[in-house]
Every structure is written in C-alpha cells, then in structure tokens.
C-alpha cells in the first residue's frame, strides 16, 4: 500500500489532529500495529478467530432471483451479514482486541451509533476477558434499546453521552475525551475507518478480509473479476475493506452514501457528495459543516450511515477519482431492502440496502455478460423496529 504516508496522510487527507496528550499513545499504537501485522503468529491468531469464532469465510451468493427480477448484470452479494453478531464490524473488533491484548491493555473503550460496533466490541471483550465501556449518545440509546441490552448482557458498560446532539458524533467525542484521561491503560477500539492515524489504516487492514475473500471467491468461480463493486459508506469501514484489494484492478468502484430525504433537502449524510474539507475527530477529510467550521448534524434513516464525516482514505479516493461516490435516499434504500427480501429471502441492514439500491440501478444499465458485486455489510434484524415504524406496522399488511 502506498498510503498512508509517515504522517498518516492519504494525499491531503488524514493526519493526526489531536491534543498533545494523545500523540504518544497514537505512535505506540502505530508501532504495535506494524509489528503485529508483520508477525505471522498474530496474523494466524486473527485469521483463526475470524474462521472459528466469526464463521469466515462468509459466502459469496449469486442473487439469481434478484438478477432475474431486475434484468441486466448478474448481481453477487458478499455476505458479511453471516458474520457472528450480524455484520462486518466483528472483523475489525477481533483485530483490534487482539492488538490490545498484545499491547497488554485489558480495558477497551468503544463508541457506537446504532449499536452494531458496540455489540461487536462487547462481544470480543467478553471473549478475551476484557473490560469494555461503550459510549453511546442518549438519543441513540433511546432508539436502539435492544442493542443497549445486548451489550449489557455481554457484560459491557454502556455510558450514556449527553453532550452535543447526543448521537454518534458526540459519542466519538466523549470516547476520545475519556481516552485522553485513560490512555495509559485503555485501548480505544474505533469502529470505522475514521479518526487520527493510524486508525483509518488499521481499520482498513482489519476489514480488507472482505475484499480479499470476495476477490478470490469470484475469481475461483469465474476466472475473472466483477465489473463493478459497490459498498455503502458511512465512516466507510466495510467499503474500504471491500475496495482495497480491487484498487489496482480494472474494476469500477462505487461508494454509496446516505441521501436521507434527498441531498438537496439538507437532511442527509452524504458527506463526500455535499461536504467540504475540514477536520473531524482528529482527521482531515470531507465533512458536513457550516462556514465557521461547526459540524452539522447529519440525517439518515440508517443509524450506521448517520455520520457527518467520512474516512480520510475515501476522501482521497474520491478526490483522485478512483472511487465514485453517489447517494441513495431513505426511500430508495427501503424499497431495495424489500425487493431483496422478497426475491432472495435475505433481510439486509438498512445501511447495506443503500448499496443494494445502487446495485439494482446499475445492473439495469449493464448486459447479462457483466457482473456486479455488492457488499452486504450486515443483516437487518436490528432494523425490524424501524421498518415497522416506516411501513406503518403489521396492521398495514407489511
């Protein structure tokens, strides 16, 4: 990998915009990560956990019924929804927890929006016998009661965040504040490819298993690569994991952001599509902000995409034009989710449904000689409550 450079920059993006207190812990983390990644016994431990604990490799599914329904290119799904805990988040949580253990730190800090990363963190903490504090906005605690209870069942402490708008952005702020105070013996297990260096690089390395597997599975079956690869982008961890092995190949890559109620309405989380360059959570990237650099609260029906920034590597890939970033509205995502459920019997997370919606749209423009690979980053069980509310509940025949 050419990027990031020694300052943690992806071109003009990335870096370490953090208080001085965190500089030393970030350097230590970077050293430990480099050391671990080049140590075959660490790699072996990581891959063994992925295989025996999370159930990897996840399947590559030919969505034949959806393909028939849509007409056009063949649609394939990389089934991250089949992971333990129901989403790709566990790949990164396992990697970082193993690293934490290797560094002798037995206390984990994590942030969570919808609760998926919180659950993944609580899960690995339980497995490795570690303490786990999950910072979660009070608003999100209200909206995601089931996941809060899940984390508690797994033995984690959920810390309600009451600062700011009480959502994911504020949970990250509070987790960082806590880390500043406890950096000597705590490990911050960040859930997405965001934050100060080396986090974006580390999360990419622990998520690239998605793309590595998918590429091999596809090639082994068809002797070629797919024409288009699509993934949803909030902070961008499943997308960077999926895209990384394809970056140097002749494959079109599309990242799908949350268009919310429409990117022209102001109620969206389409950071690359509509944002401007700035610093959020220690990293130079694109973000939603006003003229004074104050961060604007994003909106999406999907809590996992509801983030005002984006990983710096995505900002870079957008800038150099290697990946195209587009957006899909709430409505389009829900429609795709229903279509996938009814044609394939797969209930996708609303986040992942954004990628499915874009995949359906593009499949129609291609021939049946061509293939689209979509990262189905997680399953939709967690979203049933939101879907019931959106669809008007069971009484409306949904």
């Amino acid at each position: 990998m050419k990027y990031p450079d020694e300052y943690g920059r992806f071109g003009e993006f990335g870096g370490k915009y953090v208080p001085e207190t965190l500089m030393k812990p970030l350097y230590e983390l970077e050293e430990a990560l480099k050391d671990a990644l080049s140590d075959s016994s660490f790699q072996q431990q990581y891959h063994q956990m992925l295989q025996k604990y999370s159930g990897r490799p996840t399947a590559l599914t030919f969505a034949d019924q959806l393909t028939k329904h849509v007409g056009g290119a063949n649609i394939f799904l990389k089934r991250e929804d089949l992971n333990h805990t129901g989403a790709h988040k566990i790949n990164n949580a396992i990697g970082q927890a193993l690293l934490s253990k290797r560094m002798g730190k037995k206390k984990l800090i994590a942030e969570t929006g919808a609760g998926q990363h919180g659950v993944a963190s609580a899960t690995v903490a339980a497995k490795f016998g570690m303490d786990c504090k999950v910072f979660m906005g009070e608003e999100d605690i209200d909206r995601q009661r089931l996941n809060v209870f899940r984390m508690q069942l797994l033995g984690a402490e959920v810390v309600p965040v009451t600062s700011g708008n009480k959502t994911l952005k504020d949970a990250v702020n509070e987790a960082i504040r806590y880390w500043v105070q406890h950096c000597e013996d705590h490990f911050y297990l960040m859930g997405s490819a965001v934050g100060p260096h080396p986090y974006p690089m580390m999360v990419r390395e622990f998520q690239r298993i998605i793309g590595d597997e998918a590429k091999e599975q596809f090639f082994n079956e068809f002797g070629k690569l797919p024409d288009v690869v699509i993934a949803c982008v909030g902070g961008g961890s499943n997308a960077i994991g999926m895209f990384t092995p394809f970056l140097e190949e002749d494959v079109k890559l599309i990242g799908v952001e949350a268009g919310g109620k429409g990117v022209e309405t102001g109620e969206h989380a389409a950071t690359i599509t509509k944002g401007t360059k700035g610093v959020i959570h220690g990293s130079m990237t694109y973000l939603l902000q006003n003229q004074y650099g104050e961060i604007i609260e994003p909106y999406s029906i999907s809590a996992g995409l509801d983030y005002p920034g984006v990983g710096p590597e995505h900002a870079y890939l957008a800038k150099i034009g290697r990946v195209v970033y587009e957006s899909v509205t709430d409505e389009e995502a829900i429609l795709a989710l229903e279509t996938l459920a009814k044609t394939e019997g797969i209930l996708a997370a609303i986040e992942s449904a954004h990628a499915v919606a874009k995949g359906i749209e593009i499949a129609k423009t291609l021939s049946n000689e061509q293939s689209i690979l979509i990262c189905l980053s997680g399953r939709g069980d967690k979203d049933v409550h939101t879907l019931m509310k959106t669809k008007g509940g069971v009484e409306n025949g949904f």
Binding site: Y17, G278, V279, Y292, G293
Partner: protein, 264 residues
C-alpha cells in the same frame, strides 16, 4: 520574528485566565476581561466556542453552548478582542480555538483578522507539533505567538516542542480534558522541572487548576498558571446577577472577589 521569545516583558508569576467569547454575552466578556486585568492577569486566553470541543470538559462545553446560542463564532470572537482593546485592555490576548474554524476562514483571511483585531497569540489544542509546522511559521511571520503544549505523555517529544515554543509553553498538568481536579499526580513536579530544562520561554501550567492552594503550588514550581474551568464555572454561577442590569455591578464585584481569592 517571535519564536523562542517570551510574550511577557517582566513578570513575577504569570496568571493567564481563560474565558469563552460571548459567555454570557459580548459586553460581559469584555467587562470580565477588564476585571481579570485589574486583578493582575498577564494575558487573556479568549476561547472560541465550538460545536465539537474535543479537549474540553463539561464546564467549558457548557460555556460553548451558551455562547453559540448567542450567535458567537470565530469571526465575532476575534472582533471581540478588538473591542476589548478599544475599551482599554492592555494585556495580550491569545485566541484559543480548535483547528477546523481556522481552516474554514482560510489562511489569508484568518491572519488578516488576527492582525486587524490586535490578537497577539494563538493556541490550537488539536494542532500538535507534527501538524503545526506551517502554522508556526506563518504566525512567526505575522509576529503572532503560537502557543505550544506539552503533556505528561510527551516524554521524548518535550525537547523539540519546548525548543520551538513561542510566547510561553503550556504545560498540561495531567491526563484528561480541561476541568477542575481535586489533586495532582505527584509526578507533576518532576514533569515540570524536566520541561523547564528545555524551554527558553516561561512555562505555565494549566488543566485542573481551581483553587488558591493549586495556584500557590504551581507558582512555586513553574512560571505561572492557566486557569479556565474554575473561572468559567464561576461566571456560569454569576449569570443571573450579571445579566440583570440592577445586579450587574454586584455580580462583577463578586467575580473580582473570586479572582482575588484564587490568587492571594
């Protein structure tokens, strides 16, 4: 050129108070700054309220929320410095701001505003040494002191940071964000004397200093103190008095007594 130079001519011990611009309102921020000067402040750290103040604890976060509610932003905060000078404030003003607001103003406009509004110093808590090279250079060219910070975790970073410091060197007393602390780690004295070995500029200690006892302790082992949350908390307490025309004067008097008590 101001690098390696102290921003203070002659002083016994430095007292550098922090207040948030626009908390509780513009006029009172000026009144409070003037009282701080009268009480012996060596400089004012003027805080720009921000939506995501990563390095701040709850007290300054709340002040930020109050000030932003009043429409305060980086540009108005800088103009407020000018108004302070217009009303007779003599001591230097250091703009305390997160990096993103500076970035959005753009380098050229930002420095135009710094000069126009007679701001002498700049402190950006989320712009560490590695990221601040160009900013330190620009500040130097404009005759503005870029204040650097060292923390208990800085270790082998202390030397290069201290050697490149301008104005004064801000020594973070302990791990964590801004806010009052009951006590300090015993290692703090060793840390400060280590920092003083490399610093050509005065070394002032901040984060958590909230009582007369703390001030005396750090006056003994360093060149001065930065006091933020304790003052901001007192302002918060006095808001009902300060914002009522009939009781404003007694509110300001009480603030003066508080500062006096902190220092003497």
């Amino acid at each position: 050129m101001v690098s390696n130079k102290s921003m203070f001519q002659q002083f016994d011990k430095l007292f550098i108070p922090f207040i948030t611009a626009g908390d509780p309102n513009e006029e009172l921020t000026i009144d409070l700054a003037l009282i701080l000067e009268k009480c012996g402040a060596s400089a004012i750290e003027l805080g720009v309220p921000y939506s995501d103040p990563l390095a701040d604890g709850p007290v300054i976060q709340q002040a930020s929320i109050r000030a932003r509610r009043n429409g305060m932003n980086i540009e108005k905060a800088m103009e407020l410095a000018y108004k302070m000078k217009e009303r007779g404030l003599k001591i230097p003003i250091i703009l305390f701001t997160y990096f993103n607001p500076v970035l959005q103003l753009g380098e050229k406009y930002f420095f135009t505003l710094m000069e126009k509004n007679r701001l002498e110093g700049l402190l950006i808590p989320d712009l560490p040494f590695e990221e601040s090279g160009w900013m330190r250079k620009k500040c130097d060219e404009h005759g503005i002191y870029f204040i650097s910070m060292v923390a208990p975790t800085s270790y082998n970073r202390i030397k290069k940071i201290a050697e490149n410091a301008a104005g004064f060197l801000y020594c973070v007393s302990s791990l964590g964000v801004t806010g009052e602390r009951q006590s300090f780690d015993e290692r703090v004295s060793d840390f400060i004397s280590h920092v003083k070995k490399y610093a050509e500029v005065p070394v002032a200690v901040g984060f958590g200093i909230s009582s007369n006892e703390h001030v005396k302790k750090f006056f003994k082992i360093s060149d001065g103190v930065v006091v933020g949350s304790a003052i901001v908390k007192q302002i918060e307490k006095l808001i009902p008095l300060l914002t009522n025309a009939n009781t404003k004067q007694s509110g300001l008097q009480e603030f003066e007594r508080f500062i006096h008590g902190l220092l003497h």
